[in-house]
Symmetry: C2
Subunit: 404 residues, 2 copies
């Protein structure tokens, strides 16, 4: 395969993650090694920056600066919510041609993969040698083909650390605690809260994912039971929980605003948590009920990163450059789990990832639909990695003297 | 001063912090060194556990277990919201006598200091040799006399890390971001968000503390201006913001529920954030507005600790044991700042701390009442310590070719 001389273009799309810059930096540093690469550009604001030719010349960054950005959460090249159609992708393709861009690496979710797919098709139609690689990222972990997505492990570590702490807090001053977790229609991130459990009575005691229909009746019954058993109850709820007809609970009861793409706004509001909290107060008569919505911190909190996630995010970026520049291929970088625990990378056709999304496999959810299985824990533990220390006093009880 | 033989009792009261167990462990390890200490007890559930004689014998814990608990957030001995009156304190005193407890260390805020004050008085009236030390802790940083409170620095680090990340996120996908911060009537913790700023245009761009009356008019005017200037706006708001008559905004507009002590429930609900967010959407017509309420994570998130805070929390516990057992004194442990930056400890009379609370000094708040001064940054920086890496790409812009 002829190695085409030209430029590399890297961009980031969709919601940021804690490690998405690792992927960009992995791609940039790897690309800078090849003699046929004349420049490495970073597009600002994702695809919208490509159309507007808003490029940074990342060939002229120091390695130290790149490494510092790699450690920084959120999208260092900024992002966009634009979902390009064919006409938009033709504009992208035109800009690539004008700048002699021969390698395009787009880091994002299934919409970004679809953009890659269309741009790749346009290049083929135009007989222009362009390699297009989709570099996976999402905290929702909802991409097809790959074992898991870079970004998920770190978000999972945030969620698990949050629930570990909140459950310790709720143990110190007992009540009902509801924590609402991101993830839209996939329950993986909410399920990661289960990794917070160390001692058998640790929370979260209940866990609700969008893959199972949510009913107020079951929820209140579960909470009553768990509260009576533990004297407290800590609950992880996905923002995307829906009824049996697939209608989001957030929408039914709170009037749920819609975003630019017509999706119900699930994040950036405390409405769902407050709703569930009011049900527990009113229907179960429990006085101390607190709801937190974990919010944007899940994907951007400074200093909360899973080590394996960080490494894999770097590697998918490196592999993108290798597949495109060395092997002359287009596709989406994916991970296959081998052993317990190692990962190997492979390239999957863009159309196998584009637009599609996956949910949690049934074997990850318990029979009652209010918790996860050991299989999920086994799947998620190496992705999230070890949590910081959480211990209880191990000491004997003292005999009472007054014994009133 | 005669060194009285007897037991040490340690307890924790009020809301947990990330480092409150450091103080308990500091007191326990130091107390175990003295020959006249026959046992070191930990009361479960604060003062309510004392009255019920619910004690753990911490003389029988391993140092390793103690060190692990010290690193764990939230109150390892559990807590209580009970605010004892004289009759309640007489019960505490009776239990102390029955168990030959001669040293009582109570870790908490100004209510816990008041409990110490009353118990100390009861012991004096009963001619019973009891040393009572209040060990300061609060994330609100609202205790009198001391330069700052253990617990504040770590909560401040969480808040600063949260705003640093959320502002990077809001830079990648621009809009208005509102983050609601704990602290009741003191603005210190909200002000700590200002430590998130590295580059000049970093958020939070606006910051509202309870010490200045909050008006919808100023808020919307400020947001409009900041949004126009930066193309985005990130805002830190204290849960305790109030109007000129001292009425909480959270209460006026959301019907604010009251807790057991008749205080408005400020935490554990997203209502204030959602209210401010709706004002920005409706009155300013800005579409992408997101509100997060940082919630209980601020005081209990696993793995977010300020190094100086951790050390000081340990030391106030150690000093408590030294003041009581070595010097035979009662009082509240306080910190004095010397140089830039070092701390020395001293003992202040219980009545100088009990029940009272302080607000942010005027010189920490800017003239407009929507930000902090350099003086605050100088005050808070050593308490919170360095934040994790946050960097931007430093690279030249590429000239446009198509230039549409």
């Amino acid at each position: 395969m002829a190695q085409i001389e030209g430029k590399v273009l890297v961009a980031q799309g969709g919601g940021p993650t804690a490690v998405i810059n690792q992927s960009v930096v992995g791609a940039v540093l790897e690309s800078r090694k090849y003699a046929q690469i004349t420049h490495v550009y970073g597009a600002l604001n994702g695809v919208s920056g490509i159309v507007n030719e808003e490029f940074l010349d990342l060939t002229e960054t120091t390695s130290r600066n790149l490494e510092m950005v790699a450690e920084t959460p959120s999208s260092g090249l900024l992002s966009t919510r634009d979902k390009p159609d064919v006409a938009y992708c033709q504009e992208i393709f035109k800009v690539c041609k004008a700048h002699n861009i021969r390698y395009f690496f787009y880091c994002g979710g299934n919409d970004s993969a679809d953009t890659c797919r269309i741009v790749n098709e346009e290049a083929q139609k135009g007989n222009y040698e362009l390699r297009v690689i989709h570099v996976p990222k999402t905290i929702d972990n909802d991409l097809l083909v790959t074992d898991h997505c870079p970004g998920f492990g770190s978000a999972g570590k945030f969620v698990a650390s949050a629930f570990a702490g909140a459950s310790l807090d709720n143990r110190a001053i007992p009540g009902v605690y509801v924590g609402v977790v991101m993830g839209r229609h996939a329950g993986f991130l909410t399920a990661a809260a289960a990794l917070a459990k160390k001692y058998p009575d640790d929370g979260p005691h209940l866990l609700y994912v969008p893959e199972r229909p949510f009913t107020k009746e079951q929820f209140l019954g579960d909470v009553k039971k768990a509260f009576e058993a533990n004297g407290r109850c800590s609950i992880a709820v996905s923002e995307g929980i829906s009824d049996k007809d697939g209608k989001a609970i957030a929408e039914q009861f709170t009037g749920g605003e819609r975003d630019a793409h017509g999706n119900v706004q699930l994040s950036g509001t405390g409405a769902l948590g407050d709703l569930l909290s009011s049900w527990v107060k009113v229907d179960l008569g429990i006085k101390r009920v607190r709801a937190d919505t974990l919010g944007y911190l899940q994907r951007s909190f400074l200093g909360c990163v899973s080590e394996s996630d960080q490494i894999e995010a770097r590697e998918v970026g490196e592999k993108a450059a290798q597949y495109a520049i060395w092997h002359g291929k287009s596709g989406s970088v994916a991970m296959r789990r081998i052993g317990d625990y190692a990962i190997e990378y492979f390239l999957t056709p863009l159309e196998t990832v584009a637009r599609l999304s996956r949910e949690m496999p049934v074997e990850f959810i318990n029979a009652e639909g209010n918790g996860v299985t050991e299989e999920f824990i086994k799947y998620a533990r190496p992705l999230v990695g070890p949590l910081p220390t959480m211990a209880r006093f191990h000491a004997p009880k003292v005999d009472k003297v007054l014994n009133k």
